[in-house]
């Protein structure tokens, strides 16, 4: 009963010019509670659309989703979202941002302060508690976004390229942080990324999507997330299977991209 079940979701966008885009076609997926899923795919294959549907921001044209036994319709605090960037509230301090969810629930001040303090410790931003979010670096801002999401104690965390805007070094640290939080909190996480390495590192399960119409192309079960929980991620990357999988998936996506390019060229 517990877990997320996505049942033959389809999504069709009608365009103003009368045409339409089939962004998703018959996507089905079952996630057990506590699973970490990463999603890869060429640009425009419907990753963001899928995530927005799970978050409840979009209603699918077909299909339904069941979370812990009830159907999803509309956004809810049980499904937290971490955006790529720019979704923090810049009129609030770091503390107020992290405490936003509890405030909305009307949680007593002391309980809220405790949660916020704990999470700021976890993401290492205790010293920046009273700072305005726009005074923080990009990596720090994403840590605030993570903490804000966790403060609500959601069942599922949805991340749309959460580390996409960070530099390589910060990104690696954040990847370790995500793994640590996943293990500690036992949350179900869906993480979209453009980086094959990141998808391999941060996916117990890895989904490769194909475009036009957006659909699931291939699924993997991977050992690297589990390995990376307490290890140096650079060591994990040296694993022979890691390189093998990376090449395989890169080739797969490369072929898809090439096919898209060919198709658009033929169309013009």
């Amino acid at each position: 009963m517990s877990g997320l079940s996505i049942q033959s979701i389809s999504m069709r966008f009608d365009l103003p010019n009368g045409g339409h885009v089939q962004a998703l076609q018959d996507v089905s997926l079952d996630l057990k509670a506590g699973e970490l899923l990463s999603v890869l795919g060429p640009s425009g294959c419907g990753k963001t659309t899928l995530l927005n549907i799970v978050a409840g921001f979009l209603a699918p044209t077909d299909g339904k989703m069941i979370l812990n036994g009830h159907e999803i319709n509309g956004p809810d605090a049980e499904r937290g979202m971490v955006f790529q960037q720019g979704a923090l509230f810049e009129w609030m301090s770091v503390r107020e941002n992290v405490g936003f969810g509890p405030s909305m629930k009307g949680m007593p001040k002391t309980d809220k302060a405790e949660i916020v303090d704990h999470l700021l410790d976890v993401v290492g931003l205790q010293d920046f508690k009273e700072k305005a979010v726009y005074e923080l670096s990009g990596g720090m801002q994403q840590r605030v976004a993570l903490a804000r999401c966790l403060a609500n104690d959601p069942d599922v965390i949805l991340m749309d390229e959460p580390l996409g805007a960070l530099d390589a070094l910060t990104r690696e640290k954040m990847q370790s942080l995500v793994l640590k939080l996943w293990k500690e909190t036992g949350k179900t996480i869906i993480l979209i990324t453009h980086s094959v390495e990141e998808a391999l590192l941060l996916g117990e399960r890895l989904l490769v999507m194909a475009p036009r119409p957006g659909r699931i192309h291939k699924e993997y079960r991977l050992p690297f997330a589990e390995m990376g929980v307490d290890a140096d991620l650079r060591e994990v990357k040296k694993h022979p299977e890691f390189a093998e999988r990376r090449e395989e998936i890169l080739g797969m996506i490369w072929d898809m991209e090439e096919e898209i390019m060919g198709r658009t060229e033929a169309a013009t």
């Binding site: 927005n52 978050a55 409840g56 921001f57 509309g74 956004p75 809810d76 605090a77 499904r79 937290g80 979202m81 955006f83 720019g86 979704a87 923090l88 509230f89 810049e90 009129w91 936003f100 969810g101 909305m104 629930k105 305005a132 726009y134 804000r148 999401c149 609500n152 959601p154």
Partner: protein, 421 residues
């Protein structure tokens, strides 16, 4: 033309002098480390020295060309001739010529002076005298006291020994003398380069006038009352404009129906300059306070509505989504996301609206008012009280500037996150 050339000269000289001095005492700050400054907008900051010199230059030129007492004499532009000068004319009647002297007293306009008594002198052409105000000119019928006048065929043929015909002009040192078509000398004493006080009073005259009006008042109200009335109208009109405009803008940003209903009205009213509404408002509400406040209300209303609307529509959808995912209700999203997110836009709108209101109130008072800054300069201009007009313009400028500064300050304090999203 000459003031402009002096202005350009000061600009150029000050530039070279200041940059020389600045180079010598160059501080190695961040900006000076840049190799690319041309085209880098952030590398262009106002040069404080230039600002100070610029303001001083304006006052310097003002003082120079009005003969201000605040400036040492040698800096004054040549003033108009003042004092007594003489020239000679030669008249001819038939074959008889005679020469006589004309004494001209040039006096300040505000001290009436009689033409001095002069002895008639020898010959049939008698000596003359005349009093002329500074910057003025005077026709002198030199033949009127002569024994042979125009009726006898006498005519002026020489001025200071040079031959003249009607239409000719002769420089006699302190003045120019032009022979009119009828043969009468027209004396124009040197005007110099200074401006006449009725066109441009000296700075100290304006300052003095500020003091006078501040203590004695103008048209039954003190200076502060006049300015206070204008400010009061702006504040009240703006207040009501914001009170109605902001909720209206929010409604337009949040509801299709409101957007559809008010879009045509707002989009139509936005390009109508508030000044164009003055006649209608006067017809409907008269020239009293109500009319002015209605006008300013209308001036502020559309600006505030549009600012609030774009503040609401400008909210990043990811912020709203984030708030929903964090469990916020619609009311909470309104209060904690949409309102704070729109505040910077509303403040920008408020600053624009205050500026427009200030301009509009002055214009409205120019048209018709019992009190107010605009009324003060309008009435003063009718009486050629240029000092009051200039004083009024300066005070209106200072207040407008002050309002803007105040709004900027409030913006920095109240919405420090502006432009940081």
């Amino acid at each position: 033309m000459i003031p402009f050339l002096i202005y350009v000269a000061i600009f150029v000289i000050a530039f070279f002098v200041v940059t020389k001095i600045a180079q010598r005492s160059a501080i190695a700050d961040y900006g000076s480390l840049k190799t690319v400054t041309f085209g880098d907008e952030s590398a262009v900051t106002p040069n404080r020295a230039a600002s100070v010199i610029s303001i001083l230059t304006i006052f310097l030129l003002w003082g120079m060309f009005t003969g201000s007492a605040l400036l040492p004499k040698f800096l004054h532009a040549p003033g108009p001739f003042e004092g007594t000068g003489t020239f000679e004319y030669t008249a001819q009647a038939g074959n008889e010529r005679d020469t006589a002297t004309v004494t001209v007293v040039v006096h300040p306009i505000d001290t009436p002076t009689e033409a001095p008594e002069v002895a008639p002198g020898d010959g049939w052409a008698k000596d003359d005298s005349v009093a002329i105000g500074m910057w003025r000119s005077g026709l002198l019928r030199v033949d009127r006291n002569d024994e042979l006048g125009r009726g006898d065929g006498a005519a002026v043929i020489e001025i200071n020994g040079s031959k003249v015909q009607p239409g000719d002009t002769v420089d006699v040192g302190f003045a120019t003398v032009t022979i009119s078509d009828k043969g009468t000398p027209n004396i124009q004493p040197d005007k110099g380069w200074q401006m006449e006080p009725i066109w441009l009073p000296a700075p100290e005259a304006v300052v003095k006038r500020i003091g006078e009006i501040a203590s004695e008042g103008f048209r039954g109200s003190t200076l502060w009352e006049h300015l206070g009335y204008s400010l009061f109208r702006v504040v009240v009109g703006f207040f009501f404009g914001a009170l109605v405009g902001i909720p209206l803008g929010y409604a337009m940003g949040l509801s299709n129906w409101f957007r559809g209903w008010f879009d045509p009205i707002v989009e139509f009213m936005r390009p109508v300059p508030p000044l164009a509404l003055i006649p209608l408002v006067i017809i409907w509400a008269g020239i009293g306070e109500t009319g002015k406040i209605i006008l300013l209300f209308l001036a502020a209303l559309w600006i505030m509505a549009i600012a609030a609307r774009s503040g609401v529509s400008g909210v990043k959808i990811s912020k709203v989504h984030a708030a929903y995912s964090l469990g916020a209700s619609k009311a909470q999203i309104m209060r904690h996301v949409i309102v704070p997110n729109s505040l910077p836009e509303i403040f920008t709108g408020a600053r624009v609206a205050m500026g427009v209101c200030w301009g509009t109130v002055v214009a409205a008072e120019l048209v018709a008012a019992e009190q107010g800054a605009g009324m003060m300069i309008m009435v003063a201009s009718k009486f050629q009280n240029t000092d009051i007009v200039i004083m009024g313009i300066i005070l209106i400028g200072i207040i407008g500037f002050g309002i803007d500064m105040l709004m900027r300050w409030a913006e920095r304090i109240l919405v420090p996150w502006k432009g940081k999203g």
